[in-house]
Symmetry: C2
Subunit: 242 residues, 2 copies
């Protein structure tokens, strides 16, 4: 009997997953887009001390690279970028991807355009949704975070980071797109490097920011579909002049 | 001597204005776009009681039409939409435009695509920047507001409203676009009718929302250029299905 109950549960889960995929595909109807269902994890590592120095200076409007562990002397050493755990790991850029996959079981997706379907948006802050995205010969980390910057008013912050150096990151542009309920919101920017700090990017608000009511308007049954595209950046003449 | 000083001041102002136009045109380089420099006005009518009922119900996630003055029984009667003044005027839709032009000296611009250049973004909240936009046979009202939803944390809210009925508004889509510093933010939505309430749209956050640091990143020398485009809306298949 228990066996049948479990089987039935598994079938229901599969149907639910299939249905979520279908919905996300319907929203972003471009052919060949990969839909990734991303489950939330309640953040244990909230407002980490790692980036305290960076956060203080960014509040004054400057965007310095993040100062990591005081003990880190090699600037190419990255502390664990996964904001989900207070993970003591640190290592070189080359092994960040395998650490995130193996230790934190973060999925990695292939393809220039994918749909990130974050489930259970109603969960209380702090909560994170994370995937890695392999594209154009590099790996990127997409972080969606629900956080209460102002007490009692949770907001959603989404940003993309290159698992590479700031110089490499400058070669790319990422786009995050929400599209539902006759509203469309697009954010385009150069990804930051994971050598900078995801926490300072988010506390800065230099990313896609959604308040709860907008997030509700863009959500479907508690899930938020974010279309992601990465391109190699072309320097716009108008911007280059500035 | 005073005459020469004043003349010199006027010439400096003209040069400054010309320079701002030039900068805005450089950001939005599409040919034929009209640039409108919009000066701020410190809002005297802040958190008006007009919309208190609507705000309470929208906090619960519903978006009702705004309940205007208790004394208004004709639903087509609009109280003065200009958020700058606690203006006791109310009248029918047909005379809203002439009231805003004549009494509040709000500019009206022609053209499908214009650039709204809001100056002096550093001024303290509450502050408004307003223009009217005549396009596709209708008049629209663009409101940019700096407001402290959370004390000590001013945010910018931008929305477009049709000076017409909600049914007429459903036929259009407006787009607001910011583009600077290798970042681009686009908001597309159906305009709301001025029969609804600009205050409730903004308190809802159902509009383009910018925190101060993002507004700084998109600003140039204290001025924020917002590209505006209005089109007749096409019902997207994917959205129609939902």
């Amino acid at each position: 009997m228990l066996f049948f109950t479990q089987c039935f549960g598994a079938v229901l889960d599969l149907i639910h997953l299939r249905f979520q995929h279908y919905k996300a595909k319907r929203v972003f109807s471009a052919a060949g887009q990969l839909v990734c269902v991303v489950n939330p994890t309640h953040s244990l590592k909230y407002a980490p001390t790692l980036c305290a120095a960076a956060q203080t200076s960014t509040e004054q409007g400057i965007l310095p690279p993040c100062h990591h562990h005081e003990a880190v002397h090699d600037p190419q050493l990255v502390p664990c970028m996964c904001p989900l755990f207070s993970c003591p790991w640190e290592g070189h850029l080359e092994v960040v991807v395998s650490h995130l996959r193996q230790t934190h079981h973060i999925n990695i997706l292939q393809g220039a355009e994918i749909v990130f379907l974050a489930t259970d948006m109603h969960l209380p802050a702090p909560t994170d949704w994370i995937i890695m995205h392999s594209c154009l010969g590099h790996q990127f980390l997409l972080v969606l975070r629900k956080q209460e910057k102002y007490e009692g008013h949770p907001q959603f912050f989404a940003t993309m980071m290159l698992i590479g150096t700031p110089t490499q990151a400058d070669n790319f542009t990422y786009r995050l797109e929400l599209n539902r309920n006759q509203r469309r919101l697009k954010w385009e920017a150069t990804p930051r490097s994971v050598l900078e700090c995801v926490d300072s990017v988010i506390s800065d608000g230099d990313c896609l920011v959604l308040n709860t009511s907008l997030a509700q308007l863009f959500s479907d049954n508690g899930s938020l579909a974010i279309g992601i595209a990465i391109t190699t950046s072309k320097v716009h003449n108008s911007e280059a002049e500035m």
